[in-house]
């Protein structure tokens, strides 16, 4: 277990996961995971398929209960939501227009009408969806639909963003474009992010810290600091030797786990 030594936190802890275990009948999905995530950190979790990383995120998002231990997100400032989730695959409502989908979180928390209109207009602009505001999801491509999902989460203005492999269903070009757009959007106000992915490249491209999880049962194997400076350019990073070294290093940790998961 090689945990990167990090100095005493300067920023407050936003998410605290303490000896968290989740069991589904006989399967141990998450086994005794403890992490503290500081405010404003882009925190990625990588691991082989079925390592319990999605379960971990769903627990943080209140969609699953814990078996033992705890996972808590710090209370938000008054009037702001604690978190929003960007889901894997198609999660925007097919029966709502792009505009109505983007407004969903704000409407659910009964935000004033003027605030909803301003926030939705702003985030549709930032995600390049303004022209498509009145369209229904079936009229959009997969990449566009995932942009709506991003706009919906950001427009809600939560303190924490939980992202569950948001780009895994997209083709490589779309994924690269959306990664760049996510970085551009995120770098403005640096919310705390927990980002689940099975792609080491994606984790290194986006995150400040990466937790590598072991194959079933899912344990925290190590946490790696990504020291690449920001703002980052997704394409330029590929040409940066430090990027390659970090990716290579993580694969070293991951290789055994992937092989173990295949058994």
């Amino acid at each position: 277990m090689s945990v990167a030594a990090h100095p005493a936190p300067q920023r407050p802890i936003k998410i605290r996961i303490n000896h968290l275990t989740k069991r589904f009948r006989n399967l141990v999905a998450v086994d005794d995971v403890s992490i503290d995530i500081e405010e404003g950190t882009f925190f990625a979790i990588v691991g082989p398929s079925g390592c319990g990383k999605t379960t971990l995120l769903r627990i943080l998002g209140g969609l699953e209960t814990v078996t033992s231990g705890e996972a808590t997100i710090a209370d938000p400032a008054p009037g702001r939501p604690q978190y929003s989730i960007i889901f894997q695959g198609d999660s925007i409502f097919p029966w709502m227009t792009v505009w109505d989908n983007s407004a969903y979180g704000l409407r659910m928390r009964k935000a004033p009408k003027a605030e909803i209109e301003a926030a939705v207009a702003h985030w549709l602009e930032r995600t390049g969806l303004t022209r498509y505001a009145k369209l229904y999801p079936h009229q959009l491509s997969g990449g566009m639909r995932q942009r709506v999902s991003i706009a919906r989460a950001f427009a809600n203005d939560p303190e924490v963003l939980l992202m569950d492999e948001p780009f895994s269903a997209l083709d490589e070009q779309n994924r690269t474009i959306l990664q760049q757009e996510l970085l551009r959007i995120w770098e403005v106000d640096k919310k705390t992010v927990v980002f689940i992915t099975h792609s080491v490249d994606e984790a290194v491209t986006l995150a400040d810290k990466i937790m590598v999880m072991t194959a079933s049962p899912g344990r925290a194997k190590c946490i790696i600091d990504v020291t690449l400076e920001r703002p980052r350019n997704v394409l330029e990073l590929r040409n940066d030797p430090r990027y390659g070294r970090i990716v290579y290093g993580i694969w070293g940790h991951l290789k055994d786990e992937v092989e173990r998961a295949r058994l």
Partner: protein, 281 residues
Amino acid sequence: MTAHESATGKAKSSAPETELIDIGEQARLSTRRRERIMSFASPLGLLLVWEITGRLGFIDIRFFPAPSRIIGMMIEMLMSGELIEHVLISLQRILLGFILGGIPAIVIGIIMGISRPVRALVDPLIVATYPIPKSAILPFILLIFGLGEMSKVVMVAIGVFFPVAINATAGVLQIAPIYLDVGRSFKAGRWDTFRTIALPGALPFIMTGIKLGAGLALILIAVAEMVGAKSGLGYMIWSAWETFAVAKMYVGLFTIALIGFGISILLREVERLIIRWKADA
């Protein structure tokens, strides 16, 4: 002739692709036109055969009065206001029955879809009562609600309730679980979950239920009016039979068929309007 032929031949060889596309389009258009003509021709042809065989004495016009006579009778009944009166009262009963049966069916069906305990409680009741022929409970309904308007409306309501409720439940159950997760993650309350996820998600299924219900409503209103009413199309058909006014009976049948046709067109338009978000709508 030969000059024309050679001209088209030349045109073909110089631009074969545009020619081909043009011909394909024309072929499709003419097929569609032919099908439309055929769909009008078959009922008209039947009426024509009916008219001719009736006049020639091949069929008994006491049972099958010639279409011209039925249409004449229909016009006569329209002029006197008799037909309109029966149509309006039947339509009113159908509409009230739709509201009385359809709205609770949507609400109960969706709640059954959302809540497992409610489903466990209510589903056996629906499964047990659904197979009872609705026409068989007419005496019971007359006993409870008497011969007034209410018994007819209730018959329609019962007919509409089952297909709408059953489809609403099925409609909610087929909503992908991720949408409910999205609702929970954005802290949607019970009412918001119903309003923004369950109802719109189940709507295509609910519309199917309503269309099935409309068919049943027409059957049941005719039956209910034959037995326990002094007005409406069912009553009109029944009293025509009793007085052996056969042409009048056919007017009733034609009118019900037309109403059924009208309702199905209306529902198709309503469906197109409210389910615009479907890829195939």
